[in-house]
Amino acid sequence: MPECQHLWEMINIQFGFVVFEKCSHCNGLRTYFSPKDHPIVGDAYLEGEHTWRCMENAQSFQFDLRCAKCNRVEKYDDFMGFLYCTGCLPDCQVDIIQKKLETQKTWVLVAFSFFPRKEKDSFSPERLKILEDYFNQRRDTSRSRVAILSYDLIEDFSRCKGEFIHDVGMLSLEPPKERKPLL
């Protein structure tokens, strides 16, 4: 039976928040999606050995992808968001690939799942490709394309100055200020 040439569409769209928390003991970082409004940035709470403090919360959304032809569903509830590369680390694979693909009018984004990463890598090459296909199907690819890369390609995330495509500070009562790197 011939393989389906999938035509993807977004379903189960949910708007909410991506919460970024840091533990003051182990410096661990964790993120998760919450459909509800989130507690004030700065509040800390104990959980086991950890003392988690919310550092940031960003307006975001969740979705799944479904093939309009064969009805296959690919869930993306582990999708945290996209990061775009600001070219801060010269040896970083992401920047190297980005520079190369730019000449071919292909724009690069890095797909993140939530931290800490699960044992099994949730963003397999196949799932990244599906995500990439979806966004390319949504545009006129004769002008430009999108490439979605794995988080693994980032040289050193603790020094990464890439930025997430999120809505930060929407609820802030102060005018948006310059965003600082996450870590």
Binding site: F15, K36, D37, D167, G169, L171, L173
Partner: protein
């Protein structure tokens, strides 16, 4: 403008403030950035936003707005409704997105009449809400109907009466088909003001020798080919006359035809 009118224009459902709809707002603020709402929002405004959170409602309240409209069918979260109720804010929800919501409110805004304050008897110039021009290629049957489809689309955005839109669309379609069948090319000028929709179709073509004859049902100059495609049954001009409130036809053989149609809103 009364919030009641905004609610109607947006087909919105009332989440809170059913008894507050008679209140008037002076301005519409369309934004998802609450710091802007606080910095630039004026009292007695209404907020249109896709940010369906309690904070958005609080910001609107701080800026002394009278109400908030949540867009894109988003459900309010985390006590937004409770806050609105406790602070006498109207909270509405619409399926429309921000662009369409703004258009609908803008069109009812322009319908408002301010009482004449001067003694002069100058005719009040109707504010043009929309003015657009389209081109038609003669003999291009493949694209025939595209212009009237766009016109229909544009009018739907304002939220006009569907029966009225249908009349305009049919008239425009008949006029468009006449250009395709009988002219080299033509232009359609659509103009919408708060009380009138005007469609002018101006073509370069063979013209109509006898307009009165052409106005009779069943009279047609369509070729066999066109009839085979389903066009030219002779209902064109009579149908336009039936569907429009005012129709003016000018034609010159060998030069072209100009139709001016007016529809009262």
């Amino acid at each position: 403008m009364k919030i009641e009118k905004i609610k109607e224009a947006l087909d919105a459902s009332i989440l809170e403030g059913e008894d507050l709809l008679e209140a008037s707002v002076d301005q519409v603020y369309a934004s998802d950035l609450m710091s802007d709402v606080l910095a630039f929002g004026k009292p007695h405004s209404i907020l249109l936003t896709g940010l369906a959170t309690r904070q958005a409602v609080i910001s609107a309240h701080m800026a002394e707005f009278n109400g908030v409209v949540l867009l894109r069918g988003k459900k309010p979260k985390d006590g937004a409704e409770k806050f609105a109720r406790e602070n006498s804010l109207v909270l509405l929800s619409t399926e429309l997105d921000m662009y369409d919501a703004c258009i609908r409110i803008d069109s009812i805004k322009r319908k408002r009449h301010s009482p004449a304050k001067t003694e002069t008897v100058k005719p009040v110039r109707e504010e043009i809400l929309l003015s657009h021009e389209f081109s038609i290629e003669g003999n291009d049957f493949a694209d025939a109907g595209m212009v009237s489809t766009e016109v229909k689309s544009l009018l739907k955005k304002i939220g006009l009466d569907p029966v009225l839109i249908r009349r305009v669309a049919i008239s425009t379609y008949e006029g468009e088909m006449n250009v395709v069948m009988h002219a080299r090319r033509g232009k359609v000028y659509l103009s919408v003001s708060p009380k009138i929709i005007e469609v002018v179709i101006d073509d370069e073509g063979k013209g109509i020798p006898d307009v009165e004859l052409a106005m009779q049902k069943g009279f047609t100059t369509a070729t066999e080919e066109m009839r085979a495609m389903g066009f030219g049954s002779g209902m064109g001009l009579p149908n336009i006359k039936k569907n429009s409130d005012e129709l003016k036809v000018e034609s010159e053989v060998g030069k072209g035809t100009r139709l001016e149609m007016r529809f009262f809103i």
